[in-house]
């Protein structure tokens, strides 16, 4: 309990103490933290998930104002492999490794002027978690997590010997800290209705070898997702729709310690998803997100929509 309180305080401290404006195009990377999907599970249970995530940045904004210019898109495709293991009633660990495809397209006079793609393994996230309460309840729980994002992805990819900027790289080149808090509560009157609230904060480290001689630091990344879900029987399965709102705040990036303009911002997005749950078969998850409100620093390409589809399975080792 004491550990978890310290983690929560640390998380709040970093959020409030770091100067955090916002960023944009460089927020286009694979939203790995969005895909830390596992909830609580029985002791000695492995969890696996495989998902495809598509993040389309096609809206050019100056602050909240849309530019009359839709000639370019940035998209990030990611295949994410999640694994998790529950050691005890209190302790579990999650890990996510993505395979990332960064795509940049620019159209000029009705033809494609620029089409640049970069693909590769992204950064690995490892997140140990502790269950603060709810170990013996399926109706409510609070879990906290603190982990790292390791720079397993390349951050110095070149095309024809020409270096690409940080936004187009599969990895960030930095060690980041990840903090997470998740609260779940069911309705007393209808136990199948669950309210889920997740806070996630990534404290960005620095890539000390950006373009070989520079330092680059992406902005810190914070989101708070509140969602509500229910379950309905459907033939031999359960259908579980989810509706949610996500507030996301990304701090300003830095190059050699100097704040970069046109980076960072805040977004409020609406999430809608559905899960199909079968007995002994993987759960199928599909979700989409649309921005309700976007406010970027300077001028940036901002997310137009996001789509995710994945499967998830538990495997108990308990005899």
């Amino acid at each position: 309990m004491r550990v978890s309180v310290i983690l929560l305080l640390l998380c709040l401290f970093f959020i409030t103490s770091r100067k955090s404006y916002s960023q944009a195009c460089c927020s286009g990377g694979a939203p790995i933290s969005f895909n830390l999907v596992f909830s609580t599970a029985p002791i000695h249970t492995f969890q696996f998930a495989l998902s495809y995530d598509y993040n389309n940045l096609g809206t050019l904004l100056e602050s909240s104002d849309k530019f009359n210019d839709n000639n370019r898109t940035r998209a990030t495709h990611a295949i994410l492999l999640n694994t998790g293991y529950t050691f005890s009633k209190q302790f579990a660990i999650d890990a996510v490794i993505p395979y990332v495809v960064q795509v940049r397209k620019v159209y000029f006079q009705n033809s494609t002027s620029d089409y640049t793609t970069v693909a590769g393994i992204g950064d690995l996230v490892v997140l140990p978690k502790i269950l603060v309460f709810g170990a013996n309840s399926i109706n409510r729980h609070l879990q906290l997590g603190a982990g790292v994002k390791a720079p397993t992805g390349k951050s110095n990819v070149k095309i024809n010997q020409i270096a690409l900027n940080a936004d187009m790289q599969p990895g960030s080149g930095s060690w980041d800290l990840i903090f997470m808090a998740n609260y779940y509560q069911t309705l007393r009157s209808r136990k199948s209705v669950g309210f889920n609230s997740t806070i996630n904060f990534r404290l960005a480290g620095t890539n000390k070898n950006y373009l070989e001689v520079q330092e680059y630091q992406f902005g810190d990344d914070f989101y708070w997702l509140n969602s509500i879900s229910d379950q309905f029987p459907l033939n031999n399965a359960l259908l579980s729709p989810t509706f949610g709102l996500r507030y996301r705040f990304i701090g300003i990036s830095k190059i050699n310690g100097v704040e970069l303009d046109n980076t960072g911002g805040q977004w409020l997005t609406a999430l809608i998803g559905v899960s199909l749950i079968w007995n002994n078969l993987p759960t199928l998850n599909v979700s989409g997100e649309l921005p309700i409100y976007s406010n970027v620093n300077g001028i940036q390409l901002s997310t137009s929509y996001r789509f995710n589809i994945g499967i998830q399975q538990q495997l108990s080792l308990k005899k």
Partner: protein
């Protein structure tokens, strides 16, 4: 259980297909638009050619420019910089605040194509004809930078052109030089003092931006704020010190700085290698003109105050304007031969040119 495995495999195959939808040529160096490789074909080292992040044409050139009269151009503040082009008897003004967003204007003077470019990262402006070297073309923003400086591409041969070097650095036209037209850079307030009839670029019709905000924050004044590595970092002056530089045939450079407090440079005109460097700090005006007229006579210039657009008077009594044209005196109507000069930030110059000599400079702290 077997059914489960089959379902697993099916879903994995769906994922693989989705990934395939992004292109079968995924990976560095495959289906990308970035040219070159291993310096082959490049006139400059590719180590210092970098992708700026926006992609080719990611910054939109203005291809159908619209203009206002000087009186109508009330969206420019007096202390804001503008680029002035005097070509074929027409004077046009291109405000930095518009070029910060578009970088390139493909314009027409009489019947001649003229491309005006401005690089916000190096603070340099250039103009050159669209009809030269066997091509007749517009130019676009390539999305690449060489030592932080704009690389243009021509839309006819797709060759890449260095703005500051004035020649092609990649493609079928590599090493071909542009046919440049001199530009003058000063503030809008100083230009208005010249009382010249001019057309003023109004920005891109249809664009939702009103050009009211500078898109790079404090980039213009923060000497530590550089986006990309340099081939030859040079700390003799502050990175964002604005200098006037002249390039010779060997790609050597001489320059003066506008605000640099050199004790030896209190005069408005400094002559070096047959070039007069004219500067007026109060007017934020710097111009380089040759001291030799086309008949081979070398002149002695003095600065003429409060006579804009006239800035020089010579020993024959000729008065010369900012464009190098004699407007009074025995040589009235004569034009000095344009020389390859630019105004821009100090920091990229040593990286882009072979030798960079600062005239009458005093080392920082010296």
């Amino acid at each position: 259980m077997n059914l489960g495995i089959v379902k697993h495999l099916s879903i994995i195959l769906i994922f693989t297909s989705l990934l395939g939808c992004t292109g079968n040529n995924i990976g560095p160096g495959s289906n990308n638009n970035v040219p070159g490789g291993n310096d082959e074909g490049w006139a400059v080292p590719t180590q210092y050619v970098l992708d700026g992040g926006v992609g080719k044409d990611g910054i939109r050139s203005i291809d159908n420019p619209a203009f206002l009269t000087v009186a109508e151009a009330d969206f420019i503040n007096d202390d804001e910089l503008v680029i002035i082009v005097n070509f074929q008897g027409i004077i046009k003004v291109y405000p930095h605040k518009v070029l910060d967003y578009h970088e390139i204007v493909n314009d027409v003077f009489q019947d001649s194509l003229l491309t005006i470019s401005y690089c916000p990262l190096t603070g340099t402006a250039a103009a050159w004809k669209g009809n030269f070297s066997g091509i007749n073309t517009d130019f676009g923003v390539s999305g690449l930078l060489y030592n932080n400086n704009l690389i243009l591409y021509d839309r006819e041969t797709d060759s890449y052109w260095s703005q500051m070097k004035f020649f092609s650095i990649f493609g079928t036209k590599v090493f071909d030089e542009v046919d440049f037209v001199p530009v003058v850079e000063t503030t809008w307030g100083t230009f208005k003092q010249m009382n010249l009839p001019a057309e003023v670029l109004r920005g891109n019709v249809g664009s939702s931006t009103n050009y009211s905000s500078y898109p790079y924050g404090n980039y213009r004044t923060d000497n530590n704020y550089l986006l990309f590595p340099l081939e030859e970092p040079d700390d003799r002056l502050g990175a964002k010190e604005r200098v006037l530089f002249v390039v010779d045939e060997d790609q050597d450079v001489e320059m003066v700085a506008i605000n640099y407090p050199s004790p030896d440079l209190v005069q408005n005109v400094v002559v070096s290698n047959d070039v007069a460097y004219i500067r007026n700090n109060a007017l934020n005006l710097m111009v380089a003109l040759p001291t030799i007229t086309t008949d081979g006579v070398t002149h002695t210039f003095e600065y003429k105050h409060n006579a804009l657009p006239v800035i020089l008077i010579d020993e024959e009594g000729n008065e010369w304007d900012v464009f190098g044209k004699a407007v009074s005196g025995p040589r009235t109507g004569e034009q000095l031969t344009p020389i390859y000069s630019m105004v821009g930030y100090f920091f990229p110059i040593s990286s882009i040119f072979r030798e960079a000599n600062i005239i009458n400079y005093r080392p920082i702290g010296g």
